[in-house]
Amino acid sequence: MNLAERRTLRLRLRDLAAASSFAAVALSGALPIYVSIVFGAALFLSLAGQRPFERHPAWSVVVLLGLAVLLFGLAFRGQLDLVVAAVAFATLVTGQRMLSEPTPSTDQQVLLASLLLMTGAAALSGEIWYALCLLSFGVFACLSLGMTVVEGPIERDEELPLAPVMRQVSIGVALALVGGVSFFILFPRLSWNLASRRTGPGLLGGTTGMTDRVRLGGGGDIKTSARVVLRAKIEPRPTAEKLEKYWVGRHFDTFDGREWRGTGQPEEPKPRVMLGDPSAAIIQRIELLPAYGSRTLVGLEHPVYFGPAVALTTSGAMPANLIKVGSEEVRIADDGNAYTYTAQSRDDAPMREDDPQVLEALRRLPPKIDPRVSELATRLAGSATDPEQIARRLEQWLRNNLEYTLELPGEVEDPLADFLFVRKAGHCEHFATALAVMLRTRGVPTRVVGGFFGGERVSDRYVVRAGDAHAWVEAYSPARGWVTFDATPDDGRGSRPQVLIAKILDAYERLEELWRSRVVDYSLIDQWTFVRELIRPPANASRQQEDRDERPEPSTRTPTRAILAALAAGIAVWVVWQRLTGASARRHPAADFLTALERRLDQVQVRLREGEDIERLPERLRREHHRLAEPVRRASRRYLEARFGGRPLSKSERQALLDALTAPRNS
């Protein structure tokens, strides 16, 4: 590869490294748009081979200084975050260097500035994209640096074989990545992760969009979405892989024939909201992700407490207040990309409602209702008078006689009658509406609940997907309070990701979940657990233990696995080290010949003098007219050829050369 081609390749690699680091920053969503545009233009020009600052380096520095003053001025006036301002300035410096004279020194400056960008991006973002950007930056930057180093301080127009250099550097990068990951896992965390701004606005925006009303009609596209909207760490930790539980979002109390809505009034914002007795409650540490797209808090059925919430914004994490809206919902007062909070729930103690006016409002039917609905409810309820019994009968009939479908094209005037008597198929909102309205025709106070059903375990957390969005009914029983009824058939409760995009998203979300749990939220506790499980692996839990929700006791046996793992790791490190340093590189065959030659010379009383080597020995022997001068010269020459000249020595030849040293010569 000649000089021009090498230079082009080197600059392309350098620019790709810079682009990777810029992508890491840009995907955090924190970078001002004008900085992104400026860098994009610089990248385009650089890739096109145009470098306008090559001729005007001083002016470009002046412009850069002006921009620095502007950015940091904005930061000091509070209009721009200081970290963002610093990252923006590093972005501009990278662009300026890319458009300057392309010398090896400039390349190194571009890569160092890009490294600063990667560091800034680590402070601004926690998305999985960061991992990809870091990986590509590492690869491109190392290859570019490797090329710069081999080129030398002065570029020379001569052919250089680049393939071995690239191969060597690539192996180096791979090992560096392994080393980096090992360091990450093993280096003890001395502080908690407090300063990361790990939540950007997300690339796809919110999905569920839990609003204050539910309108019947249309399909159920959301059921096919695999995006994770919620993560929860539950204590005590359930053992089931699939969590068959209801996550309550909000209640709807009024139905006008087409849509449900809430009528509660918001209260004053406060840090905590108590809805019931939290003793012996299930504690959930919940994270609502950008895909959730709403500020309504969610908790396992029946939530009794919502604790301190934190809004995660692009400028950092900040405490958020909570607003209770009647008995319908609790929502976060402040805006953010994502939220974390604590919820407590008691599934054994349904909430009660003592206000008769409220209960009366929850019996109110829509002004225009098909009389067949009431007739059907009466017929199905039969002789039952207990609200729970009536609800159970209606629920069973709906689940057994109507079908679940997401294909609901077109608008109809009365969606409830259409669902019950024409299509006889619908999704969860139709089933919940039918059950609630029919119960109201029988005088049972009901309300529709919007939230999620399900959850699957990923490491030590449960994730809930947008497709798990669900609606069900709570009916009031004077004896037990609010009781949950779900008329939707079982196959319509969870998410239904069928299309390819949903599967890709599913894979992405799983990967992201792993990234978050294993990387972003990795802590000293995780390290401790890792080491403890390595040394004392937990015994396998029996089925009975799982059923009793008991944790298996740690094993007290000798930590054979840990010893073997440590041994294997040590051997692996030793082998890699030996291979890298060449310490175990096999001895050159010619070196063995030299040893044999020296031994033979010793036997025939020919000894090397101090400071004399095998190359100079024949010359001395010739001067001394030694009888072995010629065979020694031949052996010495052949050794040098084999050792350094790339001409290997065969066994027979070696033996012949050695034999010649014993036979008396007359020379």
Partner: protein, 314 residues
């Protein structure tokens, strides 16, 4: 080897490591990332830190891999003029594997300058040229050659020193000459002023084409007629001017250097003018003669002037 040299050699590490400019910046950034990670607990900063530290460790390992199996040989010129760049060649070989980005230079800063070798493949010796400058006249004992590499990322320069003893004669710099000395014999004839003249009165030496402004009386007409161009007869010269340049033995240091430089310049000038030049200096005599070999003899004698035989102190 003196005790001091042995002690110094024993104390010297087998490898030396220097941080390059980019390496310094890299280390500062690594330190900053490390402090940031420890202070904030940001796991992504830990990830970046791990990667940066791995790169540092890897730099050490790969650079060691590059310079461990190298062998070097120095290819010295006959001599070199002081304070003038000259080509010093090194032959670098590698028994197995490959080496990249190798810099070859003289150890202990004996000669300023270095040679660059982008790649060395196993069994294929590479000869690299270094343009070096010797600082002063005299025998220069070259003790060691330093092989360095910046591979793989240019953050550090790892060096390995090979003990390789050689003696380089550094001739005096050819300084300014004011007045040519008196010739030993005052004869002057023919085209003495012409640098290329060979028109003495001795035996015929050869024929060559007549040059511009040369004496047409020397043309060999018969041969010229047969080949169709003017050929001139060259005869051995017996009419050269002979000069013997002298340097006093009691000259103080600086003056001696200046005298040597002037003598070297005069030698070159007089030889190029066709004279025979000899030297009397430091008790040594070189009879007048000419030719490049003779000039080197004089220069070597000048180089050794004031110095003991190789291996002894001045």
């Amino acid at each position: 080897m003196t005790w001091r040299e042995r002690w110094r050699r024993w104390l010297r590490p087998p490898r030396t490591l220097k941080i390059t400019r980019i390496g310094r910046t890299y280390l500062v950034i690594t330190l900053g990332v490390g402090l940031g990670a420890l202070n904030t607990g940001n796991n992504l900063l830990y990830l970046v830190l791990g990667f940066l530290l791995s790169i540092i460790v890897l730099s050490g390992v790969l650079s060691e891999r590059v310079i461990r199996d190298l062998a070097v040989r120095r290819l010295l010129p006959d001599g070199a003029f002081a304070q003038e760049p000259f080509a010093l060649r090194y032959e670098v070989t590698r028994a197995e594997g490959r080496a990249f980005a190798v810099k070859v230079s003289e150890g202990e800063g004996a000669l300023a300058g270095w040679a660059w070798i982008p790649t060395v493949l196993a069994g294929q010796p590479v000869v690299a040229r270094a343009d070096v400058v010797a600082p002063r006249r005299g025998p220069l004992r070259l003790k060691e050659v330093q092989l360095s590499t910046f591979f793989p990322f240019g953050l550090f320069e790892k060096s390995r020193t090979f003990e390789l003893e050689d003696l380089l004669l550094v001739w005096p710099r050819r300084g300014f000459t004011c007045t040519p000395p008196q010739a030993d014999h005052g004869r002057q004839a023919g085209e003495l002023g012409n640098q290329r003249h060979r028109d003495g009165s001795g035996d015929v030496q050869g024929l060559r084409e007549l040059g511009e402004l040369e004496d047409a009386r020397r043309v060999h007409w018969k041969k010229s007629a047969s080949v169709g161009k003017l050929l001139k007869v060259e005869r051995e010269r017996e009419d050269k001017k002979q000069f013997t340049l002298r340097i006093g033995s009691e000259v103080p240091g600086d003056q001696l250097e200046r005298d040597c430089e002037e003598t070297a310049a005069l030698t070159n000038r007089l030889l190029s003018e066709g004279g025979d030049v000899g030297l009397e200096a430091g008790g040594r005599k070189i009879r007048p003669g000419s030719g490049p070999g003779h000039e080197k003899r004089i220069l070597s004698a000048l180089a050794m002037l004031g110095y003991a035989l190789p291996g002894r102190e001045r």
